[in-house]
Symmetry: C2
Subunit: 362 residues, 2 copies
């Protein structure tokens, strides 16, 4: 039973992927789903049944408007196609609903700005669904490597998000479904965000899509792209996203003193445990027949209740919402700022693609 502190969620969009969010909320002690909605009532009903959402506790709506008009709903989780997110996010904010929006939250930076402005005007929290930022491993890396000085100054970042899509489906990826940035928004959001995270959200001075890395389908949707990001004279990042490669989610950060490696930063191999590897002060031994160390493996136990990265994200979001609802705090500006910065870089890479892989200055 929901107490006064429990955040009451409504779903805007009943895509299959939203099942993960339902699962996370169901396991949570401070959130509950009280309504779901989809433009197709049939889709919404099927989703409710598939996810054991009882009609006694969860209202099923055949339109987003109805759900937004439900005064019991505190917060909404938006999963509809990216091309619709911006408009519905603004409407939800105007209805005083706190917003958890699947990534990418909008089609471009201007659209995110409109969402964030609506959230600020209406005093509601905004957060996009970049789950890995909430993983305990991410926090642990920040402490272990950055705060301690073991990494030193960041010099180079390499990050990927590639996941294959069957050939016959590639042609069906339209800009209506995928947004204008295509793979750069859908997938590139992760490595671009990872590069910004590694740079503590310092913005790049310029970006450039790499010639020959860009592949599109016959309707012009970007399917694959690599880009370089220049952070002043001190650091560069390479980001790579593709629907044409095997699954890869690599994040390698090289610093002046140490380096970090992960191959599963977006979604850890396992839900209950995660690890990263690092070296600091590594060098070849005398005569170069080996190293003075092998990488240190740091393991983070996430087997406890509500310790998955989804649960951690949900908790971070609900705490902010609870604080606002109790009148104890204002909406946290850090999360929307991270989304805005990430989108600005996504847009810049997209622009570089559009102008033939020329450098785009930010």
């Amino acid at each position: 039973m929901a107490d006064n502190n429990t955040v009451r969620f409504g779903l805007l969009g009943c895509i299959r992927f939203a099942s993960k969010f339902v699962r996370t909320v169901t396991q949570s002690s401070n959130a509950v789903i009280i309504a779901i909605s989809d433009p197709s009532l049939e889709t919404a009903n099927t989703f409710a049944a598939a996810n054991n959402l009882s009609p006694e506790t969860v209202t099923v709506y055949g339109s987003y408007e109805e759900l937004l008009d439900d005064p019991r709903v505190d917060a909404v989780y938006l999963t509809m196609p990216v091309t619709q997110r911006g408009n519905w996010a603004v409407k939800a904010a105007e209805k005083k609903k706190h917003l958890l929006v699947e990534k990418p939250p909008a089609q471009d930076a201007a659209e995110i700005d409109r969402i964030v402005e609506a959230c600020v005007s209406n005093g509601v929290q905004f957060m996009d669904g970049t789950i890995w930022l909430h993983h305990q491993r991410t926090v642990k890396i920040r402490e272990t490597m950055f705060d301690s000085g073991l990494l030193g100054d960041v010099r180079h970042i390499y990050s990927t998000m590639t996941t294959p899509i069957p050939e016959q489906v590639l042609e069906r990826l339209t800009k209506d479904a995928m947004g204008l940035a295509g793979a750069i928004g859908e997938l590139g959001w992760y490595p671009i965000g990872a590069a910004l995270w590694a740079m503590s959200y310092q913005m790049p001075i310029s970006v450039m899509a790499l010639p020959s890395s860009v592949a599109t389908n016959s309707v012009g949707t970007i399917l694959s792209c690599s880009a370089s990001l220049q952070f002043g004279s001190t650091a560069t990042a390479i980001v790579h996203c593709s629907f044409l490669s095997q699954l890869s989610t690599d994040l390698a950060i090289s610093g002046s003193k140490g380096s970090i490696q992960m191959n599963d930063y977006v979604i850890p191999y396992k839900e209950d445990i995660a690890w990263f590897k690092y070296t600091s002060g590594a060098k070849f031994v005398d005569m170069h027949i080996g190293w003075n160390m092998i990488p240190e493996k740091v393991t983070v136990d996430c087997s406890g209740a509500e310790e998955s990265q989804e649960a951690m994200m949900l908790r971070a979001f609900t705490r902010l919402v609870q604080g606002i609802n109790r009148g104890e705090s204002e909406a946290d500006r850090r999360w929307p700022e991270i989304s805005q910065k990430t989108q600005l870089v996504v847009d810049a890479v997209k622009k570089s693609v559009d102008i033939g892989c020329q450098i785009v200055y930010l």
Copy 2:
């Protein structure tokens, strides 16, 4: 005691690093060092003493010419600065000495071509000292991932070689000491060679140094550079080399079916054992709360006698020399071809730097 099959080596250059070669030959059953040389006789004598090279079995020369005139010497190992390697390699070939040359073997592709031509004319073997190509792990990856189809078509390669040099030394890195390509030749040789190896020596159609990735010291020596390599429309590679970052030797290969990861491809963490990791057919599990697998770790035992990568290289070289010396085979053209292709790409990246990070077509 050397029998007729034993390859008798002479050293051209007595830098400290040559100790590794001495150690490898000493442990070898089919090679022996019979002479060393350095323009400074004192340096040569000090090297002999430091490496327990007895005057009874090893002749010490105060000039390269004298060593090349020693008819007992079958093969030479060249370690002098890169700016001198080309000339001495040609002279050695003309004296019918087989050539094992530290990498990079020359300053540019034209110079390597001259060396290779001299070797062909004189019927001697050429091989550069890119040791990792001879490691059993390298062979194992080729079999396990490429030949088996587990990797599929190569889509993306990421490779680095970074090793820090103290700040006060950076300014002393002149083009006389480092060659015109600076870090691209000294360090970039490895990731460029790794990309070519991953592409089974298909040449890129174009390369481009990445804007803002290039750092030089006050005398214009390149200290750091990233570059992208385009292999037709199907594959791209990112290579990164730097004297400004912590030690990193990463090689990640993403294919249409699988991926390979190593963080110590140049020199394995340990001499007696090495490993790589791969996935094939990896995907997120239902609801994206993990993967359907964790990377497979393949370990290669190199603890046996003459199983280090240096010993493997020496054995590969001596077998070729023995075959030629016994009149059973001609010089193997594959090794010089690998060096030539690697240098062509090094040169193209260097040219891209020179023309402001424009695309250079090969």
